[in-house]
């Protein structure tokens, strides 16, 4: 009887500050990009995704439509960041972050994401 309990305990540690943020999410992405060929492009789309423990004890892994978005560093107050993105968990069920990439001198790409737990 104890074995399944122990197994579940290892998977989701209730004493880890990241645990309350994990789960399946719906991400609404507003993307803005600019390049000399196409000009400005604004789109909004929705993705199904998942947030899981990252590879380090202070990271989470964001996956959307089966594609991993990589590890995000997460601080104790729910602030998240990567090289190009920063944001926060406004609550344990809602993630807000923005990313910005300067692709070249003439091309840039930014996107804002709102993720809500299903």
């Amino acid at each position: 009887m104890l074995i399944p309990l122990i197994n579940c305990g290892c998977k989701k540690n209730p004493f880890d500050y990241r645990t309350k943020y994990l789960g399946n999410y719906v991400f609404v992405v507003h993307s803005s990009s600019y390049n000399p060929t196409d000009g400005a492009i604004d789109t909004t789309y929705t993705l199904d995704g998942k947030i899981d423990y990252g590879s380090d004890k202070n990271t989470i892994l964001i996956t959307s439509n089966g594609i991993t978005g990589g590890d995000y560093k997460i601080y104790e107050d729910g602030t998240v960041e990567t090289e190009h993105c920063s944001g926060e968990f406004a609550t344990s069920d809602k993630l807000l972050y923005s990313c910005y990439i300067h692709v070249s001198m003439m091309a840039k790409w930014s996107w804002d994401v709102v993720g809500e737990k299903k």
Binding site: F15, N58, E76, D77, G78, T79, S86, E88
Partner: protein, 242 residues
């Protein structure tokens, strides 16, 4: 209350205390309050940032720690090892607080102020911990005086963290505002509080009452001056009651 207590104490019978001394196990309840203070300066000096250092290693630098209050209560068991020597353990609920406050100019100077809440922009960290702690102490009993020396080890902590932030409200003209957020977590803390207690026992008709003073030692030069009561019952009487 103190008059009633004094009257009750005046009925003291040393026989109860004598019985308690000869029991292998002695159970007691502890209730007390404490005041958190600091050795020396409350300012946390910055240390040199080495490449590869984590944010957490320097998180509270340049902040000022604030004195706080707290309380504890719980059950203790004294296990007799030798004539005057006991090993004391049990379970305590402790409410402790840690507050780190920054000067707002310091935050503006050393951090990037963003529009979003961000841990780098924190103006005040206000932590409240409700801990389940296990005391592990050696107890020396000499007549009516008892000296406990050991440590309290938190095994589970419910942490309520309130962060207040500085955020930039506009670039031009530049203006700053504040924001705040509360995050709650259940944690297994990796902490240890070395402690000592000194008590003097008053023998009552059925129990022993021990007012105590003492000190817990925390991280970052902090200590907790504490005082309260240990209410002891004889093991045989405990069995009878049940």
């Amino acid at each position: 209350m103190s008059i009633i207590l004094a009257t009750y104490v005046s009925y003291g019978q040393d026989t109860i205390r004598a019985k308690a001394h000869h029991s292998k196990y002695q159970f007691s309840f502890l209730v007390g309050g404490f005041y958190k203070s600091f050795f020396g300066n409350r300012y946390i000096k910055p240390t040199t940032f080495e490449l590869g250092d984590s944010f957490e290693q320097h998180q509270y630098e340049r902040s000022i720690q604030t004195p706080t209050g707290g309380f504890k209560f719980g059950a203790l068991v004294d296990i007799r090892m030798a004539k005057h020597w006991y090993f004391t353990t049990g379970m305590l609920f402790c409410y402790r607080k840690d507050i780190f406050e920054y000067n707002s100019d310091t935050v503006k100077k050393y951090n990037n102020i963003s529009y979003t809440r961000n841990i780098h922009n924190v103006l005040t960290y206000n932590y409240a911990y409700t801990n389940l702690e296990i005391p592990l102490m050696i107890l020396l009993k000499l007549k009516r005086i008892s000296l406990y020396v050991g440590a309290n080890i938190p095994i589970l902590s419910y942490k309520v963290a309130n962060y207040s932030y500085i955020i930039r409200q506009s670039y031009y003209p530049i203006s700053y505002g504040t924001s705040e957020k509360t995050v709650k977590n259940l944690e297994v803390p990796f902490k240890i509080y070395p402690t000592w207690l000194l008590s003097y026992s008053f023998t009552l008709p059925k129990h022993t009452l021990e007012p105590f003073i003492g000190m817990d030692f925390g991280a970052r030069k902090s200590f907790f001056i504490q005082g309260g009561l240990i209410f002891t019952m004889n093991a045989k009487q405990c069995t009878k009651t049940i």
